[in-house]
């Protein structure tokens, strides 16, 4: 687990980007809890951390693709994003990075 921020650092209902172990991830503070996804939208790299949160998903700010907060699964067309495990310990928010998604083999 890697500590990323304090619970007060992300306003309720919003997301923020963080660099953890050289990877850009988005930390979300939703009504239903904390979530973390890879920050770059698989479409054209939009910052999901700047997206609008609904109760179970985030909407990419560039072209409105939607992703499930818990699994990273795409709820609209295309690929999903990697989801990371988040844990709140006291007033600290920690994540455990999942391995990066294997890139579609470019054979």
């Amino acid at each position: 687990m890697i500590e990323v921020c304090a619970v007060d650092d992300v306003p309720l209902g919003e997301g923020r980007a963080a660099t953890v172990a050289q990877r850009r991830i988005a930390i979300f503070h939703a009504d239903s809890g904390w979530y973390a996804l890879e920050d770059g939208c698989p479409h054209l790299g939009g910052p999901l951390s700047d997206g609008i949160l609904a109760d179970h998903c985030v909407v990419c700010p560039l072209h409105d693709r939607r992703f499930d907060l818990a699994s990273g699964e795409a709820l609209t067309d295309g690929e999903g994003v990697t989801a990371h495990r988040v844990e709140v310990r006291g007033d600290r928010v920690c994540v455990e990075l999942a391995p990066a998604r294997a890139l579609a083999s470019a054979a």
Partner: protein, 822 residues
């Protein structure tokens, strides 16, 4: 109907539309669709979209997965039919499984034609036919790559445009002496070439490719005569050849394609063929429109043994899908009698071809208005006395002039009659519903305006949709507004909790945020989390996640001091570009989110709201202050307008313009709200547009003084704020409500006074806070910052397992997952 069902081999547009036509005629039909491709049937015609966007073919899918289950269609994707026993209508699938049916329809389409040129099998040479080709082209065609496209026909040009828009240097190599010789005459082709070249595509005509150069990979082309062309990627698009192997080995009659009769039957009674694989009366079609005609008749043949409905061939016509080059070719491009209107500079070329005094073909380049009307005339062999007059009349045709058979949506083969039937027989009341029922307008979207026009005509111009503010709530703007008012909701979360299903989709939050603020006259509880990122940081997010800053410059007027401060800030914060905008403001593009507060502080000007659905710019001309023609003080009125309205959010953006005389240098007649000084007063124009839609503004009133104009315009603005749907620009709103209705409201003494009163309350609350002042009082300490540098420890530092952890999760930086629970 036999219980054995119908097998369709091939899930292209032909297979899918036949499947739909069969089910449309007999909802109990059992259809099995075998598609060799892994994807569900998709729209091949729109393939070049994914060449440009890089998305997968899912977005082009013709029907969602549930559709097949709902209609009990058995779909076998990724399966290949290896053999056909035509007498028994039996298929052998890959793997050896055999299935027999009542009948079989072959919709095997075609393969790209590859010429017998040495080197064509080298890596780096691709055809342009399927999603995998697009993927390959995309991967090889990075910015700066040199690409050669062999073939200057419809598809070759489309491929060239696709790769050119990815930043490649593209050369089209064509064998003939003009582009698209199959569809165009020499005159149109001569005008098409410069238009294509203007897109940055080089065109080489009369080049016969002798071989592909390169050992490991293609490195270029050699032409007959020895000339060479270097290229990193070679796209081959010289034509197609019908996929008839299956039919051939089954012993069916084949020539160029699989031979079919007028009922689309092959030489075997229980086997039909439809689409690009079929040859009917000597013709093999390579376009989609004939496929719909064929599928319709084939479905009749399959479901009604007694029917004598026949297919009599289709008119060939095509539209070039290259942005910025409008081109349509219908039927014969040349004939015994021709009428042409042309303008080389335009480029504009419109031609109608007659044979025996009847419409036989047309070519439209540059201005394709009237396509539907001409198509219909040519399809019906209309007698034409004066072809020039007919060309002009076609351009002016409206929905009402079109006959029922006129095709409106080319992507999905939907005619005007189908749209009208959706309204009259299926009870659709709005364009949106009609589009959902008929699928018109769901392809490339270019026919949407015509669909709307036809629907308006069919409904007698009756009220448009009950447009739900958002599908997740199934409530209209009016219903929600009423409940917000009556139940006293002051924040988006209250509305979400009280109305609808409680579940939210995320897409409607900004619409609700506006509604809550509007109904509460801006004395609502602001929840920033319901706002789009632009409205959380008061700047416009850009493709790379940076932002742009556009300070307000009332009426487009600035001062040396402001310019100096803008220049300094641009340098200090390394704006990637400083640009004069189309709205007479200055834009600092490409700045970092965390620099926004400091930039605003240094510039010291108010927000221009260029990022919001709000009052935007008021564009002005120099007017009486300087201009020798000026008859009204346009700068003064423009600045007053902008000050009067600034800071207000609106359903969609509102842009204005004020011109000091009818020469209209501020383009006020294509603005949402425009004012034009005329002899003796001011004209108030509303609902103009010059973006994606172009519309000349309506004259709402002519007033004697600027004060009167400002008052009436404000009343109208407030009426719009209260009644328009989310994202509904004035150019849609005013025609929906009707100009007369609006005029009646805004000139009614009592109603206009009420509107003004509510405007003042809303404005007072809005004007109290320029959003850029949040630089000093952010709503949250991290309003503009990400988390790098947050937290007590350095980012990426490990922390141990929590004290109470039972298993003791292994701290891992990056690395393989611990495989779940184990």
């Amino acid at each position: 109907m036999s219980s054995e069902g119908i097998a369709i081999v091939g899930g292209g547009i032909a297979g899918q539309s036949l499947c739909e036509a069969v089910i449309g005629r007999d909802p109990d039909a059992r259809v099995t669709l075998v598609c060799a491709e892994e994807h569900l049937p998709y729209d091949r015609v729109r393939l070049s979209e994914i060449l440009v966007s890089g998305e997968g073919p899912e977005g082009l899918q013709l029907r969602p997965e549930e559709w097949y289950a709902d209609n009990r269609v058995e779909i076998l994707s990724g399966r290949w039919v290896e053999a056909l026993d035509a007498q028994r209508a039996e298929l052998t699938l890959d793997g050896g499984e055999r299935r027999s049916f009542a009948s079989v329809a072959l919709c095997t389409g075609s393969r790209p034609l590859m010429p017998p040129i040495p080197g064509l099998d080298l890596p780096g040479v691709v055809p342009f036919r399927g999603p995998e080709d697009c993927e390959m082209i995309r991967r090889a065609a990075g910015e700066g790559a040199r690409v050669a496209v062999i073939g200057g026909g419809l598809l070759g040009l489309e491929a060239a445009y696709g790769v050119a828009s990815r930043g490649c240097a593209v050369t089209v190599v064509h064998l003939m002496d003009r582009l698209m010789e199959r569809q165009l005459d020499a005159g149109a082709a001569a005008m098409l070439q410069p238009a294509i070249e203007a897109l940055g595509v080089e065109v080489l005509l009369e080049r016969q490719t002798e071989c592909v150069l390169g050992d490991e990979r293609a490195t270029g082309l050699r032409f007959a005569g020895g000339e060479e062309l270097e290229a990193d990627l070679i796209v081959v698009s010289i034509g197609i050849t019908p996929e008839k192997a299956l039919a051939q080995s089954a012993g069916l009659e084949v020539k160029r394609g699989i031979v079919v009769d007028d009922r689309l039957k092959t030489s075997a009674d229980r086997v039909l063929a439809v689409g690009e694989c079929a040859e009917h009366r000597g013709t093999v079609y390579g376009l989609v429109a004939p496929i719909y005609d064929q599928a319709r008749v084939a479905a009749v043949t399959l479901t009604d043994a007694e029917s004598d409905e026949t297919y009599n061939g289709s008119l060939q016509w095509a539209k070039l899908k290259v942005m910025g080059v409008d081109l349509v070719s219908i039927g014969s491009a040349e004939g015994p009698q021709e009428a042409v209107t042309a303008n080389a500079e335009g480029p504009l070329y419109r031609k109608l071809v007659l044979a025996d005094g009847r419409a036989a073909g047309a070519v439209l380049l540059g201005d394709v208005r009237g396509t539907e009307a001409l198509l219909d005339a040519i399809r019906c062999d209309d007698e034409v006395a004066d072809p020039l007059e007919r060309l002009a009349a076609a351009a002016a045709a409206t929905a009402a002039d079109l006959p029922d058979g006129a095709q409106i949506c080319d992507c999905n083969g939907v005619c005007k009659g189908d749209l009208v039937a959706a309204v009259r027989e299926q009870g659709a009341g709005s364009a949106r519903e009609v589009m959902a029922l008929t699928r018109a307008g769901t392809g490339c979207g270019s026919c949407k305006p015509m669909v709307k026009e036809v629907v308006a005509e069919a409904t007698g111009g009756a009220a448009e949709e009950p447009a739900f503010l958002c599908p997740c709530k199934r409530q209209t703007r009016e219903e929600l507004a009423r409940r917000i008012g009556e139940e006293g909701h002051t924040a988006v979360s209250d509305v979400t909790a009280a109305c609808g299903t409680g579940r939210e989709c995320g897409l409607c939050k900004p619409a609700l945020a506006y509604l809550v603020s509007e109904v509460n006259d801006n004395r609502h509880r602001e929840e920033r989390s319901a706002r789009y990122i632009n409205d959380r940081v008061h700047a416009n997010i850009q493709n790379d996640g940076t932002f742009s800053v556009v300070p307000r410059m009332y009426g487009g007027v600035t001062t040396p001091d402001q310019l100096r401060r803008i220049a300094d800030a641009a340098e200090r914060y390394e704006a990637r570009m400083v640009k004069v905008t189309g709205g007479q403001r200055i834009d600092l593009l490409g700045v970092a989110k965390e620099d926004l507060p400091a930039i605003w502080r240094d510039i010291g000007m108010p927000s221009g709201h260029a990022y919001a659905k709000a009052i935007r710019t008021v564009k002005t001309c120099v007017g009486t202050d300087f201009c020798r023609f000026g008859i009204g003080d346009s700068i003064d009125l423009g600045v007053r307008m902008e000050r009067e309205w600034e800071g207000l959010h609106t359903p969609a953006k509102v842009k204005s313009g004020v011109s000091g005389c009818p020469r209209n240098c501020a383009e006020a007649t294509v603005k949402d709200i425009g004012a034009v000084a005329v002899e003796g007063g001011w004209q108030l124009r509303i609902a103009g547009a010059a973006g994606g839609t172009v519309r000349e503004a309506d004259v709402l009133a002519t007033l004697e003084t600027a004060d009167e104009l400002l008052r009436l315009a404000t009343v109208f603005l407030q009426y719009y704020r209260e009644h328009a749907d989310h994202k509904e620009r004035m150019y849609d709103f005013v025609p929906r409500i009707g100009l007369e209705e609006i005029r009646a409201v805004v000139t009614d003494e009592r109603r206009s006074a009420e509107l003004l009163e509510r405007f003042r309350i809303a404005k007072a609350a809005a004007a109290a806070k320029d959003p850029w002042l949040e630089r000093d009082e952010p709503y949250h300490p991290r309003q503009f910052e990400d988390l790098d540098g947050a937290g007590g420890r350095a980012m990426g530092e490990l922390v141990g397992p929590p004290e109470d952890a039972d298993e003791g999760a292994v701290p891992a930086l990056v690395g393989p997952p611990e495989d779940g629970e184990r």
